[in-house]
Amino acid sequence: MPSLAGLFFWMNRKIENINKITITKPLKLDCGKTIKNFPLAYETYGKLNENKDNAILVFHALTGDQFVTGTNPVTNKEGWWVTAVGPGKAIDTDKYFVICANVIGGCMGSLGPKDTNPENNQPYGLDFPVITIKDMVKAQESLLEHLGIKKLLCATGGSMGGMQLLQFCATFPDKAFSAIPIACSSSHSAQNIALNELARQAIMADPVWDNGKYVSKNVQPKNGLAVARMVGHISYLSEKGMQEKFGRKLQEKADYEFSFNADFQVESYLRHQGYAFVERFDANSILYITRAMDYFDLSKQYKGGLVEAFKNQNTKFLVISFSSDWLYTTKENKDIVIALNASGADVSYSEIVTDKGHDSFLLNEPEFLKTLKGFIDSMYEKFKNEKRI
């Protein structure tokens, strides 16, 4: 196994070869600071047609990246939404042009805390400005400009991706013909802030973290980061789903070891997920991105609340929630629907019944994928007709 420093070097080298644009236009962040000449990494799938009416923008979630489907060239693993996106899939790349960008604050090529601060030639670490969901979305809008796409056929995303999408629709009301926010919320709940705080505290309690300065030493607070990931993984499943998947099954042993090794399968699963994660993600990025999620409160940005945020929407919405999702509950998703309804927007809503929890949007959930496909295909027909007229 390569050393962690070596692995970082190897990953950074690979990251240099991925698609990127440099955004020269200064971006004034919500925190007051301004960034300019910064990289935004992205990936596209399928072909943009002549009329430029088949573009779909996907927003990724907390630990996602721009590699939606196929093989992620950096990790050599499958893209994170391979169940939904690809040739012949619900979001069919034979038909549609799919775009996804790495969020700023992330660690897959877009400007993030592990990059070098031009002011002192040191890695940013905690000198990186605190970013918000709105900042992320504004950066991605510049990418659309670069690609020459005036109006998207559809924009979609689950979890934090859904939050970015809601922000995108509120900030740029004419940029998407249709939108599918999945398993998300218009403002982060106390429970979700608490879980994010747990993840951050785990990272910050790791002595290797060293106030975020670990980057210059080419190390990673992997114990803390792994625990942060474990917290996440618990919240992505449901009580029932977890019980069915693991129960009290033991990990390759006949009886308890009377030790603190991973006796139970569920422990082994969490440890595996935690330590696999440290190889591909930067700890400071987790701090920054979870902060952005916690600060997200769309209603706070508009006097008159959420209804006002969605005023004058011509975008056609489909909101999807999962019955066993306790992280972004059906109720939170319905609140979005209620606000859209109250603002007179064109909105559909479906609750998919499943035991698989928040993770459902990444899994092979046939009812979910059928709904997704049906909506996008029907929107494409409408969009084409509208453009013709």
Binding site: N341, A342, S348, Y349, K370, D377, S378
Partner: protein, 202 residues
Amino acid sequence: MKSLKMKKEFKVIAELLPNNTRVLDVGCGDGSLMNFLKEEKNIEVRGLELNQENVQQCIHKGLPVIQGNAETELHQFPDQSFDYVVLSQTLQAFYNPEEVLKNLLRIGKAVVVSIPNFGYWKVRMKLLFFGEMPVTKTLPNTWYNTPNLHMCTIKDLFKFCYEKNINIKQVVGVNEDKTSLIKKNNLEIKNLFSKLGIFLIG
């Protein structure tokens, strides 16, 4: 008009609704009425539907639909946000039809409600001569598995509207392919010979 296959009831409802209006179809099923209203009358439609499969079908047709229960989730629609609200043959299945009707009248400037008529002569005969709960084409379930909790007759709904000061604009009786206007003076006879009653109120 295109020959969209539709049951008589929906044709009557469609005729009651003017072109270019905004309509909420509560319990919209697979969206066949919504589709007709949208295509033929340029009506801006929205649906509310409980069944997952039906919701999916509406979405595939590009019809905006919200999955939800009309009994508990009508509060999400603002006051007077639609020109018309349609409720087809489900009023009798609610726990609290009075509350639902109140909500529909709050959401829509007018409401179209259709009911299977328990006053239809065959229904009355079944109970009178056989002493059994009626099972007919419009009421296909038996007493132990029927979703219908509050059966009523056309006359009952008339009385209800008077008592609650709800303005009745028009009532149409439907028997197979025949339709007729129901007024105070022909109520008794129409209540006997109509399988369905379609009320435009509000």
